[in-house]
């Protein structure tokens, strides 16, 4: 299989300068936005996005055209770009921000034109200092050229962009928690209803919250057409997507592909196979929140629906390969520990449950596990996510709690023996 470069074409062909406005423009950048502002209409843009069938690239996979359609009427509306990429295994937004920030800015201009928005924010996680600098430089270059600010491209549209840094909280990737953080509050998710961002978002005004990759795809869609975009990939997972591949493979990195191939193909042709010729024991198809798939499930296709059918999710597009030597208990512990650390603390099951799960796994890993611990782990998981299904049923406010249970459920479902081996043997008295 090969890559199909849409988002990463410009940066691949112009590595030294792809982050600069002059390179972006030389390669056709901002043309689409200029055209749309001059002779297009908001309805036209929305139509193209809808017909592209593009689904949100942050992890939830919600159809973007539908999301844009929900935006309520109001004089004060906002666009917020979710660049809080913190899902373990994911580093695709990083390359877009670092190497081609103008693509994002152009996408934002078109989006704001379509939604009649004049103030936008880019919320970048605080750890992405270099990407943030690149984006800020790009924003300043755009202002200098009159592509941002008042009357951009000489039209009647105004747009101001503020780059805002997060400060180390994964939960701020959740859209309502992000809005709380942007308002200068604790990054705690809000209740939906009533706080659907499209109705009551930033400062209680209608707000569009979209992922970096999603909005970065908008210029290509407008330069070509929604239909063209929809012709790439497969039905239900149209267009291209950047997958972050990491773990025990020879060639980790970001790869932009049309969806539809299998994970196995992906790993072999682009990841150049497993390190040291080992075999895969298990892999994470879509970021730390996703349930694991086994090494014998590599033929699963990399589409949103196919992975969902296997009881997991394509999520943020982060693929992590774990070879036969991996200590899966420690892997699960690392994942659970992540969620316990990142829990915001609002609701009881997640706040108490995730740390409890971490403690139990720690006990097992250090040899102090008990036979009853496996059932205990699964029952605690069940109290956070009843039924242990994916997508999860929740007793919590947001899916972070249930995400913590995903790895434990996978571990016990397919790799129970690896855990049992660490527990004391049952003594049978004769």
């Amino acid at each position: 299989m090969k890559e199909t470069l849409l988002l990463t074409k410009h940066m691949r062909e112009n590595p030294e300068e792809s982050h600069l406005l002059k390179s972006y423009e030389k390669n056709g950048g901002y043309k689409g936005a200029k055209k749309v502002l001059k002779s297009g209409s908001p309805e036209l843009v929305l139509e193209e996005i809808k017909s592209s069938n593009i689904r949100g690239r942050g992890g939830a996979g919600f159809p973007t055209g539908v999301k844009w359609g929900f935006l309520a009427e109001d004089e004060e509306r906002y666009l917020v770009i979710n660049a809080d990429e913190s899902e373990p295994g994911t580093f695709k937004d990083r390359i877009l921000l670092e190497r081609d920030p103008h693509q994002l800015i152009e996408g934002m201009i078109i989006t704001c034109f379509a939604a009649n928005i004049s103030k936008a924010f880019i919320y970048i996680r605080g750890e992405y200092a270099k990407p943030a600098r690149r984006v800020q430089n790009a924003v300043e270059q755009a202002y200098e050229k009159g592509y941002l600010g008042k009357n951009i491209f000489g039209s009647s549209m105004d747009l101001d962009i503020v780059v805002h840094l997060g400060a180390g909280a994964y939960i701020c990737g959740e859209e309502t928690a992000l809005l709380n953080s942007l308002e200068g509050r604790r990054g705690e998710p809000r209740l939906k209803p009533p706080f659907f961002p499209a109705v009551k978002g930033l400062y209680n005004k209608p707000t569009l919250v979209n992922n970096v990759e999603t909005i970065s795809s908008v210029p290509w869609i407008m330069n070509n057409s929604g239909k063209d975009y929809a012709s790439l990939g497969v039905e239900g997972s149209t267009g291209t997507r950047i997958f972050s591949l990491s773990g025990h493979i020879n060639n980790p990195g970001n790869y932009e592909i049309e969806m539809g191939s299998s994970f196995g193909e992906f790993v072999e042709s682009l990841g150049k196979g497993v390190r040291n010729n080992k075999s895969i024991k298990a892999y994470i198809p879509g970021g730390a929140s996703a349930p694991w798939l086994r090494g014998d499930q590599l033929e699963v296709k990399m589409t949103i629906d196919d992975v969902a059918n296997e009881g997991s999710m394509l999520g943020s597009g982060a693929v992590v390969m774990m070879d036969e030597d991996t200590n899966l208990l420690l892997a699960a512990k690392s994942l659970v520990s992540f969620f316990a650390h990142e829990s915001c603390g609002q609701c009881t099951p997640c706040r108490e449950g995730t740390t409890w799960l971490e403690n139990i796994l720690e006990r097992i890993a250090s040899g102090r596990g008990r036979l009853s611990d496996i059932d205990l782990l699964l029952d605690v998981c069940d109290n956070i996510s009843p039924g242990l299904t994916w997508p999860p049923k929740m007793t919590t406010i947001c899916p972070l709690g249930p995400s913590a249970t995903a790895s434990i459920v996978s571990l016990m479902k397919d790799f129970r023996s690896e855990v049992e081996i660490l527990l004391p043997k049952k003594v049978v008295l004769r």
């Binding site: 604790r186 316990a340 829990s343 915001c344 009881t348 108490e352 009843p386």
Partner: protein, 777 residues
Amino acid sequence: MTEKITFTVDGKQLEGKQGQLLIEACEDSGIHIPRFCWHKRLDPVGMCRMCLVEIETPRGKALVPSCTTQVTDELVVETESDIVKKAQEGVLEFLLINHPLDCPICDKAGECPLQDQTMAYGPGESRFIEEKRHFEKPIPVSDIVLLDRERCILCARCTRFSDEISGDPLIEFIQRGNKTQVNTFPDEPFKSYFSGNTVQICPVGALTSTSYRFKARPWDLKKVSSTCNCCSLGCSVELNVSQNKMLRILGEDNEFTNQGWLSDKGRYNFEYLHSENRLLNIQVKEDNDFVEINIADANTTLKQKIEELQNPDVKFVIGANSTNEEYFVINKFANLMNRNEFLSKDKSNVYFADDHLFEGYFGDEYENATFEDLDKSDVIVVWAEDIKDNIPVLFLRIKKAVKNGVKLVVLGHTNTSLEGLADLYLGTEIISTNFELETSLSNVKEFQDIVEDKKVTAIVGKSTPLQQKKSLDALVSQLQKISSTKIFNCFSKANTFGALQHIDQLKGLNEFYNEYDSSKKNIIFTIGSNPVNESFFGPKVKNILQDADFVVSLDIFINETTELADLILPTTSFGEKEGTITNMEMRVMKQNKILPDPGSTLSEWEYLTSIAKSLGKDIEFGSVYEINKALVNEYQSDDIAPSFDNLNKPSNLFGVINRKDIDLNVREVDKNKVSILMVRRLYGDSSTQTNSPSISMLSTERFIELNSKTLEKYGIKSNVANLTQGPLSIFVNIRLNNLLPNDLVLAPINRRGFENLDPTKDFNLKETNNLKELSVN
């Protein structure tokens, strides 16, 4: 939206209102859904997850928190399915894994929602064998509230109350996830007038009061409903008593008045009832010493004195803490003792000891407001004494109304604490330092715009006793001209309105000073009042009392006034007598007796009827019931009569509005310069507070407020200074308040050291090297 809808819960059809919260709708129908973080008076947050229920949705059954779900027509709900039960057990297990096994030493045990719900909905055992979370326990977050973070279940009720209801967000969540704790900022303790409410609504023993810690178990307590005596709002309270000692006061949810909340003064000012300084026996002064005598001898002494003085002028200076029944008897007694044969307007002899008394707006041309009107009107207009300090729970009600969209107009300069909430604050631009309107309100465009043609509730009273009524008249008449206005006469002391309703032609202290004729023979009764300490012109009152021929004081402590008496009759106090009181809505509410009369105390009415009898006059009442029966006849007949029987009925437990003609005999004050704006602070040096050890430290700070220009003028650079006036010198802390006019200093009248200041005379402020924290008793 009050459209009625039907929904199904556990197979039963119920009725509810569109938009109502599911948990509340179920509660109204008798179905209890367990919960921790939800509270009827706070915005729901859905954090504890205890109230999860299953509802039918197009996508199958969903597990949702009932406190954040609204009932809709035909909603189908299950509160007892297996999934719900497992979720409940799960949440309780989660809450208990870090909760310490403190029940044996925790105040909350016995009335603890966590205990109760664990018994009813929880798993039988815990499976947690890891180490629990630990914090230092407990830590004081203020002088009166302690915090135990290990017990805290992070329901956020205390933080939400402080943010949403009282507007003092001084307690908040720190850290995140499993490490989250509730705490205050080191330099800013939980100094709120309403902190005690968080102790009451905390569902576990995390927040406790210093006054109640380790004092009793709930099952030891005798409880009775009553009405608070601290201000004219009349909060509904529950008195908790054990072994004849008052141990705790809780707020009751009276929809019409306090809605469950209390100020910390109303909540914690009761320990004085059992103070060793409490007067228990009748005392007569002999050679500057007090000697105990019995009531028969007291009556004889008084009778002899009256005969000796031959037709003396008998005057009464009354306080605000008597019940309506007591005022009724005082009125009768005063009439009997009035040497004027017929009662003419100038000849009435009862004086109310509140400097803020003025003629008020009573009668048919003014409509009296209720607290409900605050929520229902378009605009609230306030020009009165400091509401947050004098009627604290009214501040909460105003804040709530503003939160729900009611506009607020505030006139200065005493309600600066409302400025943050106000849509329009009119201060120094149009109001002079002595509270006159410098321009007609019809010329103030913003005022006209906000008020014109709207429904207005006006809270009107004197900001300072030196303010002339005519400036208030200008406001009221303008409001009546351009809007539809209901009025609260803002008299803040407890049962002021009871006194107004039951004393004929009540006068004020101004009249008392002006009408006193030292050339005549005078007998003065002081009843539950301490004007020597509390009034602006205390020194004048002191002179009068020293000059009078005989002074009889009915009170509970020796204080600056009663120590000047010749005969002291110790009375019963709050919780020791049954009666009714009237609040500023003209709502009559019940006070109940739960404590025995201490020592040889009697009620005020018992003394007066006894004296009357010994004088051969006739006020024959055998019990407080008989008095109540008599006074009921004096109210308007189309209101529900405020009889004890009626008020004890469940439908009337929140009190009944009762209208009665009010005829005040208070004259306009002279125009005066205001140099020092003296205000009453919530915590002061009244004898009840100084004798309540748990809160007495709250009233020790001496501070003044002034604006930065004034500060500059006197060259003060630090935050302490020396305030002087003539021979008086006080060291004070400085607080900046830039809403005050220039050259005006705001000082507390009810703190030690300030009582002899003359508000009309000039003062001086000097830098001082005395940088010690100025807290003196």
